[in-house]
Symmetry: none
Subunit: 203 residues, 4 copies
């Protein structure tokens, strides 16, 4: 049915990000095509995984573009990036888990370009006096990506409601876990008391 390469890749992510060792059988079934067709579209398992990785990187690059991370106030830019990244968090989770991907030079290069953009955003923020300077921009980049990936896994496994994701990510990453005595707490989105494994233990 779905013979579109990108459609197949999307299906592949869904399977592979859960179980990186999934059989091609399973991926083909998830995509609604036969193993043989899968092989015609992507010549071999490695090629498939490589292309899933490339898709993830393209999406993350697109998120950086959409968020216009190079523009304006660093905090606002990061908030835009959070919003733009969360829909593809699952792909980022895949990128985080598949370390072997980075043995391909082209993937590694593309990866480093995006990380450099993140890095530059944090550097700019530090120079603007927005981000803390005692945490290195490299670590901030790394940790941000880890958290995006974590959001992907949590959503996929049903431990985090998609509509809470952006808020949770942005607030934790930007503001940390500690309560700030002197400032008003930002209100969580209106729906956050919703159905999805809600935290019922507020004091």
């Amino acid at each position: 049915m779905a013979t579109d390469r990108d459609t197949v890749l999307e299906a592949a992510v869904g399977v592979l990000s859960r179980r990186p060792t999934a059989h091609l059988d399973e991926i083909a079934r998830a995509a609604g095509i036969s193993r043989a067709t899968l092989h015609r579209l992507f010549p071999g398992r490695d090629a498939l995984i490589r292309e899933v990785g490339l898709l993830g990187l393209r999406r993350f690059a697109a998120a950086l573009d959409t968020a216009e991370v190079e523009r304006g106030d660093a905090e606002a830019a990061l908030r835009r990036l959070v919003d733009a990244s969360v829909p593809d968090a699952m792909l980022c989770a895949f990128l985080a888990g598949e370390n072997q991907l980075y043995e391909h030079d082209d993937i590694n290069d593309l990866w480093e370009v995006q990380i450099a953009r993140l890095h530059a955003l944090f550097l700019r923020g530090q120079q603007q006096g927005v981000f803390r300077i005692e945490l290195s921009a490299a670590w901030l980049s790394e940790a941000f990506f880890d958290l995006v990936a974590g959001v992907g896994w949590s959503i996929q496994d049903g431990r985090l409601a998609p509509r809470d994701a952006a808020f949770s990510l942005a607030e934790l990453f930007l503001g940390g876990a500690l309560r700030r005595a002197d400032t008003h707490t930002p209100a969580p989105p209106a729906h956050s008391t919703s159905d999805h494994r809600p935290d019922t233990d507020k004091p």
Copy 2:
């Protein structure tokens, strides 16, 4: 040579946390024994992976014990947990990447116990007014573990100096990335200007 089960498990983590699909061949080589001996020590691949997972959980449980997370001020408890967790961050990375592990009931049970302890810590912190209440304790637990795992990967790949790890983790997680206009910034550890050199724990 190294026929000690735990020695082999340590070697296995080193390999498996990077590449969850690594062959037994590779693991055996990393442990300095033959495939056949590996097989005698652990009856089958699944058993080996299961034991690696159990080791990781035991270590994480031990970190929770060492940090006495159930005791005292939540922030201080979390800082103790960070210090206790970072040395085994690589094992946490393994636990984070190997979703299939949790299909074993005993592992899943043990996991849920530890996560519950984390969850309780954050709840207590929220009740103490220490942790923000607009971020659910579940999300805080999840994100904390993601960041510990991220620290493990970063250290393993040489992108984060081990001696910076605890500070980076605690500060980011507790304080967030934003600079607080009204409060003093905690000083990073004295050595934090040196990069990427594994340190030999000064007394």
Copy 3:
């Protein structure tokens, strides 16, 4: 384009006599048609190969007819046969290499008829005192066909000039490699000093 069955068969011989395991893809490409069309012309690989074999056998039978091997002096008949066979030597090479062909009863029968005609020619020659009796007619038949096939391969690979083929084959097979001290050496054809240029049959 070339949807003529025999045209396709000719193309198939060119490919298959070199590489009996060639894919249908390659054969179709050589014939200038698509795999699917090849399939419509010949229902399946076996059918195609079978028809190539039949074509080869028909051509060899035609050579035996043209040479009128049943008529007259055995040596002269054999020389006529050489002349008649060489143009289709490549098909004979195919017949020699494709042992599985003879599992088809009809092909095997046709083959045995032709071999019997060869055999009869050598027997007659032995009875006429023309051919040596210490070499069995069966071996002579076999060896003759082997050499025709060899000529086919040599021509195809450019190691034998087509215009030298008949002379080389006839002289070697009939007269052997040894120089006869007492008899005049037959003059090779006038052009035989020029090498490997396919000739355009002079009238």
Copy 4:
């Protein structure tokens, strides 16, 4: 059982020279080992076929050595070569049928060395006045090898008795099919009236 590489290769020749498309299954069974072991000994089908080809070339080279083709009278040298080649005629048949082999540079080089030795033998014979000069040494080399291969096929298929092979080959190749009016006919070996598809039609 037979885990010796050369033993396996011998078994492979027996199967492959009959049916070049034989499954690895069949070859493994013929060698008395499992497919997996066959794969351990030879990494992949191509490698196996390549090594069979190399074995054939080594044997043919050994035959040239044994026969000391570079020494003495050319006719005697060729007769020695016939005797030395016939036991490995099947391997030569394999070499003749597997044209793809010569795409490997090392095999092609080795092949050309042996053919050059044959070529030199015929040239020397022509200079000695032993071999006919109107047949090119290149064609004589080619045809000789074709006939050795033909002998291999004939023996394998039971159409030629092994003990008749050397005589039949040497006499046909050296003396040709025509009876020489002026010379005594060499007596075939005593057993040539034997059981193996004897020619019962001598006048």
